[in-house]
Symmetry: D2
Subunit: 368 residues, 4 copies
Amino acid sequence: MIRFLTAGESHGKSLTAIIEGLPAGLKIDFAFINQELARRQIGYGRGPRMKLEKDTVEITAGVRYGKTLGSPVVLTVPNLDWPNWEKIMSVSLDPSGDYKRITRPRPGHADFAGSIKYHYDDIRNVLERSSARETTMRVAAGAVCKLFLKEFDINVSAKVLEIGGIKASDTNSGKKIEAKIDNAAKNGDSLGGIFEILVINAPIGLGTYVHWDRRLDGKLAQAVMSIPAIKGVEIGLGFEAGRRLGSDVHDEIFYKGRPGEGEYYRKTNNAGGLEGGMTNGETIIIKAVMKPIPTLKKPLSSVDMQTKKMVDAGYERSDVCAVQAASVIGEAMTAIVMTDTFMEKFGGDSMDEIKAGFSYFKKYVKKS
Amino acid sequence: MIRFLTAGESHGKSLTAIIEGLPAGLKIDFAFINQELARRQIGYGRGPRMKLEKDTVEITAGVRYGKTLGSPVVLTVPNLDWPNWEKIMSVSLDPSGDYKRITRPRPGHADFAGSIKYHYDDIRNVLERSSARETTMRVAAGAVCKLFLKEFDINVSAKVLEIGGIKASDTNSGKKIEAKIDNAAKNGDSLGGIFEILVINAPIGLGTYVHWDRRLDGKLAQAVMSIPAIKGVEIGLGFEAGRRLGSDVHDEIFYKGRPGEGEYYRKTNNAGGLEGGMTNGETIIIKAVMKPIPTLKKPLSSVDMQTKKMVDAGYERSDVCAVQAASVIGEAMTAIVMTDTFMEKFGGDSMDEIKAGFSYFKKYVKKS
Amino acid sequence: MIRFLTAGESHGKSLTAIIEGLPAGLKIDFAFINQELARRQIGYGRGPRMKLEKDTVEITAGVRYGKTLGSPVVLTVPNLDWPNWEKIMSVSLDPSGDYKRITRPRPGHADFAGSIKYHYDDIRNVLERSSARETTMRVAAGAVCKLFLKEFDINVSAKVLEIGGIKASDTNSGKKIEAKIDNAAKNGDSLGGIFEILVINAPIGLGTYVHWDRRLDGKLAQAVMSIPAIKGVEIGLGFEAGRRLGSDVHDEIFYKGRPGEGEYYRKTNNAGGLEGGMTNGETIIIKAVMKPIPTLKKPLSSVDMQTKKMVDAGYERSDVCAVQAASVIGEAMTAIVMTDTFMEKFGGDSMDEIKAGFSYFKKYVKKS
Amino acid sequence: MIRFLTAGESHGKSLTAIIEGLPAGLKIDFAFINQELARRQIGYGRGPRMKLEKDTVEITAGVRYGKTLGSPVVLTVPNLDWPNWEKIMSVSLDPSGDYKRITRPRPGHADFAGSIKYHYDDIRNVLERSSARETTMRVAAGAVCKLFLKEFDINVSAKVLEIGGIKASDTNSGKKIEAKIDNAAKNGDSLGGIFEILVINAPIGLGTYVHWDRRLDGKLAQAVMSIPAIKGVEIGLGFEAGRRLGSDVHDEIFYKGRPGEGEYYRKTNNAGGLEGGMTNGETIIIKAVMKPIPTLKKPLSSVDMQTKKMVDAGYERSDVCAVQAASVIGEAMTAIVMTDTFMEKFGGDSMDEIKAGFSYFKKYVKKS
């Protein structure tokens, strides 16, 4: 079982994750983790912060001589802008009650419900953690899980399908999308979109139908829906599946090669690689939608929570569109769930042991 | 924290659930639970089994004199058809190896991956548990959770939005849908559809943004996606949110009444009641899609897993369309998640204690 | 991961357990489970109930043709005395407020704190679940886990070491202990004692030091301490280890046979088979103490929780000494923890797959 | 629910913990946490490392202006000796295979089983995490939990009862114990002992009998037994309870004051504050034994895991006696469990909300 906790405020000193449950002997490619962090920071429509800060991970525990030790792994990403925030975000300072509070919640954000839930008079206490900055550590943890999956030839990738209604497959979509984003930026508005995550080469039989909370489709849905601003998740055909006949949805089963030496295959993959909550050997296909970023330069109407007067919503520096980044986070969450589910099936404390179990299973599947 | 385990094969002797973590003093309305079970069994397009068996729950632990005891609650639903299956599904009989096995997996079902995963030569060993019959106990457990939520005026309901592409809001939709189902039945085909779940009157601040796996949106997505045949989940605007501008998505915040005595409100609810993974006081809106039932009378192509020869997929008696039932299961899973998340916030061992905490919080929200 | 929930009131209709996470293909020996249940019911000093009711398990889910299906297993033990309790313990009856309540808590039992915690005016609502009758289902679940462990030649057993201060190793201990129990019975008093649990042949490396809650010593301590009336748990030398020099405690390591073909061994086992929270290949030795049963015929002083007047504590039919039974429950809890920890290391969905992984590991250890 | 993960190798760059689930608004007293860390480092018989390094915590997330934010809290303790270990414990360096490995396992330590479990040829990969240095972060996390408990007047403390068989209550015990330790040190040997943890003023009804894994006695036993070198845990009378008559063990119940205004009390506390797995309002009393430290200057016999030849066990700089430190860790683990169990009962997201619920419950208990 993989457990992980992440922590860190958007403008705090640093972000941290601990991953517990990784086997010993997994090679850690630091450059790869940093590359994944960089992928989270790019994309047309990102705000100035992404240009300022290039995230770099430091590992302070659980790894020695480039390989995991079986003990918990600590990943830390310092906030490079910390000197500018040291006072506002001080852990220990007593601001004597007279500091500037944020009291105008942004519609679409955690500001309103969060400050009621936690009994705050300063919305900064909410937004610092509810910020998408939090997802940095998901990407770092996801990168480690991707390294694990790669050892078994399992690959997780993602691509953007739509931005603000413009399909990436349309002619000249690149230009159209950039224009759409520029226009939104000019108007102080924001945009969302749709992306797709693929898991290639997962073995048959990860996840299970025997109990609802062990189904892989449900776990993936939680992991992806838990990304800030995600409002919908589909597997395979998704909502389209509800509009077709059964005979036009289910993926017929075929076999090629000599019995016991060949392999099963499908000509279609409407199920998106998951039947009965389990992998069926086909590519896992997940689609997700990201709503537009809720921080608008041309602010929406809101209410000052101190005075109850109508006001403009607050503004924190922000992006106009971050669907590209969300797709990278989607990969990370998917990689984490896949690793956990993989470990559940194959067990093992060292890479050698897991590889032996995996190889046994692959041979058995071949003969099935 | 609410924990629950369900068990039971489709044609086994009975189905069972244990719910652990309920407070003491919750009134159990047996008629209500049975009514929920009945709601799961109806709907145009259901197979003959639904007419044969009227599910009735028995409670054998955790309840005394009509109220919960704080101890684990056992719910059991006997399979009325058991005498006809006693031999085929015997727990103890040794069939001497020569019984009739099912070896032709149905595309779209757990049959194929399940029999590889668990190393079976008889697909019955898979389909008995992967059958949607399993959801009976989710509905029973969900009914108990609905009774809990009702004590706090929180209501969970659902309705069908579309069947096979026909919108329930269309003119003459009832007739059109029945005709569509009749036609599918005649052709040995099946249909899916889309339904919507609403949670009315949940307090502000259930769920949280502070850690990914405590977000209510993610938990609800897992719970709903884990229902057999569900291939997509949306919250609020869902996929449509990715196609609009931010200013056209986020729900502006208003206040009515005198400061500290009035209340916040919204004019729109595109967020579907969830911002930052938390309830914001608006109705929670979840949409889900069910793919067509994978058991077709006019069978799809498949492969005999014994001989590897191409064959017609197997057929077990089944429904043509079960979207109505799925919506009831969706209510149940939603009610379970809501109860768990509610208990996480309010704690408490008896209904009296929880009500005191809830009432304190409502007063505090009023003043916020 | 093995999850299990148990339920059932002492005089309710039946006791139930669901075990989730067992692999497919495990042979279920019904006679063995019943034999374990019988072992829980015997022992000198048991009350009349144990003679009345012979517990027999029924399995209603998760098993077919004598083998587990990978799906959750339901175990039920009916209470044979139910007809006499049907009214007092009715789940649905409304007793109209005027029934006889128990209001005099027994010192040493859950009565006092339980009725405050759950807001009860009738201690029966507590004692029905806090009764040691609850442990019946632990023994049933433990018996299933013993069957699992046996497939890997791992054996869990227990024996009584002391009753009321008389050592089972003393001369004529049998007679002395019976006399001690008879005497306690005559005086309306009760007795406890000490027992030992052994796990023979567990492989090296179950449990781990890498995170506190994955240490096997801690898990075993929780499992055994959670048995009603247990007030102390030791591993290996236990408290004696604190009184000796290090050189007189730690078990030196030896090797016999040719390098890579032989095996490591110890001449002593003061560690009780656990070093660094892991199995080290030696027999696991756990000792536990059971306090005397808190229900005394010659009652202790107590307070009527209705009137706050001093009264004699209540009396429910009970045993005088149940250490023998407690040792059987200790075996069961140990077997459950061992199975869970074993599954964590070896993973696997079917017995065949787990055996392949186990065999690989045994070979690897041989060469280590 | 409180979740926490700890990480860090003994000579790694730093130790880290993340605590998730703390409410908002808890005052963090940094000096108190550091003081607790210092208490873990003192005691007669500690090695030179304890004098070299004075642990100081840094908090980098989850706290602002001296109060918790409700978000996960990161605690870090740097290893001051890191510059001397930077190469040996490098996370990224490739040592080219020719570095000095440790191959002689210390009896009584994780060395032997750990290197087999994780497939290591260098015992350093085990001992760096299995070292008691790991407990630093338990103490840091425990200190935060103590701050929480103090807000409800609940106090956790510990004291040493015995060292190497000499009772702290004996005449001149201080001198005798120091002499015993000096003597062990001179002989290259080590000593263990027994300590006691008290929890004063816990409310009635924490923990529960309704399910085995929610019993507080079991949770405390796991938490304390999980401390390295602990081989036994007792609650209240402990093993002595098995040697007495029931009438001489159970704590009779009394009431003082006017009905509904007074309070229940006991004249004895043999149960150690826990009946039926729940707090009963009396002081919780836990005893634990620590075996002697397994690293001996005069080494025990062992086997070189490379050559299988008999050798002296390895030696890492170490303490002669650390019972005092273990008692501080015992306090910490107890405080963590108490906080978690407290939060389970009272729920709540902010200190204000929890205090309201606590105050309601205290009033209700008063009237019970």
